[in-house]
Amino acid sequence: MLNFLRHLLTPHHTNNHRAKILHNSSLFLLLIFLLLGSFLINYFQHAAPEVLGVSYSISENDLLSQVNKERQDRGLNALSLNSELDDAARRKAADMYSKNYWAHFAPDGSTSPWQFIRDAGYGYMFAGENLAKGFTDSSSVVTAWMNSPSHRDNILSDKYRDVGFAIVPGTLSGEETVLVVEMFGARQSQTLAAVTKVAAAAPASPSSEIVTEISPTPVPQLVITKEASQTAVITHPKIDASVTSRAASTVGLSFLAFAFVMDLLIVERKKIPRVVGHNLDHVILILLFLLFIVLRNGGVII
């Protein structure tokens, strides 16, 4: 066993002074193995998602409690879950999927966040929107929003009274993902009441943030039938494909980088002449890619 590992990982006369795993034939086999593994994982994800798939745990309740915890930790009032803003968020998610875009405003200019809020029957004085996609759990979504100044401003704004969420899985630009839409709002009546209470308060002004708007005119409230609600995406396959592939890639690449470093050090020490590529090139590439794997969080916000 020890001899095999030495043959595999270190330069030796048995492997022509080049770790066997670093021979072109071995690299080619590893490549085939990776491509085959990708194909099989992809196949089983679709054939047996309850066994192999991505584990999701995003729910409206978790998002609401975490957003309100952030607010209450700073002495702000808790936001109330509003069914009309829920509906607006669902309409927004459906619009992004149907028109295949990922933005606050549809690229063709046909829709805006405010239109969805109005269409859902919420007559707002202030409104805002946060978007997220590709996250697998509620706390990652809220953490990402809190780490972004503009999204954080929305979450911690004292203008808002209500909030609504939509958590919708689907395919966007060819990628399977889960969209999270968060709509904030305050009705005109709520805002006026707050202003009356604080007589000396400065007049409310709109935020300069693109995802926040003050209503130009009061909007009459409409009653719209609530569509089938989507308040959580929770899946727990036996094997989490995302975590497993990440762990396997990290271990495999670390193993390869280690072999390149060992090979470089031993050959440099023994001054063995060889015709091979620069190990340092490969080590730099693999280590930077490993850093990329570690730093990527899988989700994005706008």
């Binding site: 072109n24 990708s38 990628e175 620069h278 090139d281």
Partner: protein, 88 residues
Amino acid sequence: MIIARIPHELYYLFELLVLIAGFYIIFLLSSSFYLQAGALVLVLIFYTILGILHHEIHHALRRKIVIEYILVSLMILAVFIFLNNHKL
């Protein structure tokens, strides 16, 4: 030839800086798997060409070295696809 007098350290530094910039751009493109994959392919093409040029200028370039750079690049691309399998 001036390029042949460039020390190895500068070559590695240049490679490191370009790869850091490349991976940073790939990181920024995280909203789209396909854009990220495209950027990664460009970074890997740069890596392969630079490695081959370095050997051509400073050492004896052999076919097996060219194949080695291509295989390492393809392996990184395969790992990237492996990582993002659930999105496809």
